[in-house]
Amino acid sequence: MATTTAPPAAATGQPSGRLRSRLRTRTRRNLLTLIAVYGLMLLVAVIVIFPIYWMFSISLKLPREIYRLPALIPQNPTWDNYRELINERGYLTNIRNSIIVASSVTVVSLLISSFAAYSIVRFRYRFRGFVGRLILLTYLTPGSLLFIPLSIIVARLNLGNSLYGLVILYLTFSIPLSTWLLSGYFRSVPPDLEEQAMVDGTTQLGALFRILIPLSLPGLAAVGIFTFTAAWNELLFALIFITSEDLRTVPLGLQYLITGDVLLWGPIMAGAVLAALPVMVLYFLAQRFMVQGMTAGSVKG
């Protein structure tokens, strides 16, 4: 912001001739900058949107048009793929399952991570640094490595083929990231307010819920959205641990449109559009928080 905003002309009062001409070149330069800025923004928008447009255009096509008459613009657009997905393939059930899983993961993960981050940032005890590092390190393990051992544990704990089992599994990748981002955010909040509250008789847990969390809402929103998206889009664990048709999540539902050696491009892309929509809306509504929330979290991380 600070790099381009010129001081408002009015504030400089009656400018001298030299100043005026300098202001004029400044305005011209500003105009050029503006054109460059918008040009670049347009370019980026095209690069981002084109693949998404392509996805949308395929979702409006029937197979014959996809295969035989590939064209940049659908010649006979139809909503058939969407209809098929919803009416015949129970896609709404997938969406419902994904909403249940993703929102549960988000809530539980935020709670557990807030506790952990609060503990790491505000408490003094042995191994504190070690615990913090350990939590971050767990984030590194390749998912493909955990596949077999996890399936044994999941079976022993009776978590297989259930949505809550999926919630618990997703916590394994959401908690490290959330804890880490939140501890950065909590650290940026001055401890004085909590200390004051505790002098006034609030418990430590009370200070977390009444002072720290309300002050960290943008951070929590950003972390929450990251968690939600990751859980919404997760495929590998769902693929292995969910068998029943009525428990399938969105990515799994889409995956099942690839049967044997046939890809149902139309319905897959329609499903992709429907899957991306809620998350896109969420991002759109929350993008202000995202930026604010990431600020403290990542700067101080």
Partner: protein, 306 residues
């Protein structure tokens, strides 16, 4: 009375301080226990379990015998092993560099006070907001030799009249896969950098301007140092994601053509398909030292900075 009181007071104070510190530590432990327990049970334990599997000839349904480093020796004999290491490094480094430039550029762009930047911020998050495997299916469609969008545009506009098999030839396969991976991954970078930029105090720039610093100097002396920790951490996270990513390669090329895009997770998946768990685990384990070096390097840079 006063003597007694004087003797009593410090003792009371000391014990209460001790219990306070103890209680503090206890609460601290209690708060971190849920996260720690979950991660130990569902990540750390399976992790060490998997490492132990990599030293056995375990196949599905049979516990297998200890065979020492045989799986690793077998892996190193794979004619594509060196290529796999090379591809993984190229993938991570090149996509990191691309994402760094694009992310930083976009963040600076969106940090300007211009109309429509709110909308733009939402737009650039789109690639991040869709399931990964769907994003890569779309890119596969875009790259398709016949009927794919890129070839259609290039041939119809006569910019390049011949069909290019982007994913099917050695020269273009890896770049094409990296490009798609970058498209999917840059929003995280841009938005993190943007967040960091907004945390840089404006007064610093004003002061530098008064001192007559050029915009390049301002960028080099103020912007970059201020957001360096964020850059390092984003590089770390994203490198881990890229090194571990499976969907992008599996959907677009299955590691082919030949071994042009073969990476560790895909190699491990092949092992899994033939139900040779020991070998599959060895492939994943072989990647861990590299990840650890990366992590220590970046955390070292970050701490050095502090």
């Amino acid at each position: 009375m006063s003597l007694l009181a004087n003797q009593e007071a410090p003792r009371v104070a000391r014990t209460s301080r001790l219990t306070l510190a103890n209680r503090q530590a206890l609460t601290g432990y209690l708060l971190v226990v849920p996260a720690l327990a979950l991660l130990l049970a569902l990540v750390a334990y399976p992790f060490f379990f998997a490492i132990s599997i990599s030293f056995t000839d375990r196949v599905v349904g049979q516990p297998g015998n200890w065979i020492g480093l045989d799986n690793f020796r077998y892996l190193s004999q794979n004619p594509s092993f060196l290529k796999t290491i090379q591809n993984t490094i190229i993938m991570v480094v090149v996509s990191d560099i691309l994402k760094l430039f694009i992310g930083l550029g976009l963040a600076m762009l969106l940090n300007q006070a211009v109309r429509g930047r709110g909308l733009m911020r939402a737009v650039i998050l789109l690639p991040w907001a869709m399931p990964g495997f769907v994003a890569f299916l779309v890119w596969k469609l875009l790259y398709m030799p016949i009927g794919g969008a890129f070839n259609q545009i290039l041939t119809k506009t006569n910019i390049y009249p011949e069909i290019i098999d982007y994913l099917g030839q050695r020269s273009t396969a890896l770049p094409a896969v990296i490009l798609a991976t970058t498209w999917r991954g840059f929003p995280f970078w841009a938005i993190s950098f943007l967040a960091a930029l907004q945390g840089v105090p404006g007064e610093l720039y004003e002061a530098a301007k008064v001192d007559g610093a050029s915009s390049w100097q301002r960028f080099w002396d103020i912007t970059l140092p201020s957001i360096k920790p964020v850059i390092l951490i984003v590089v770390l996270m994203s490198s881990i994601w890229t090194a571990n990513s499976f969907e992008n390669i599996w959907i677009m090329t299955q590691g082919g053509p030949s071994d042009a895009t073969m990476v560790f997770p895909v190699l491990a998946y092949f092992g899994m398909q033939s139900q040779r768990l020991g070998e599959a685990a060895a492939v994943s384990v072989a990647m861990i030292p590299a990840l650890l070096i990366l992590v220590f390097f970046v955390t070292w840079l970050v701490e050095d900075d502090d």
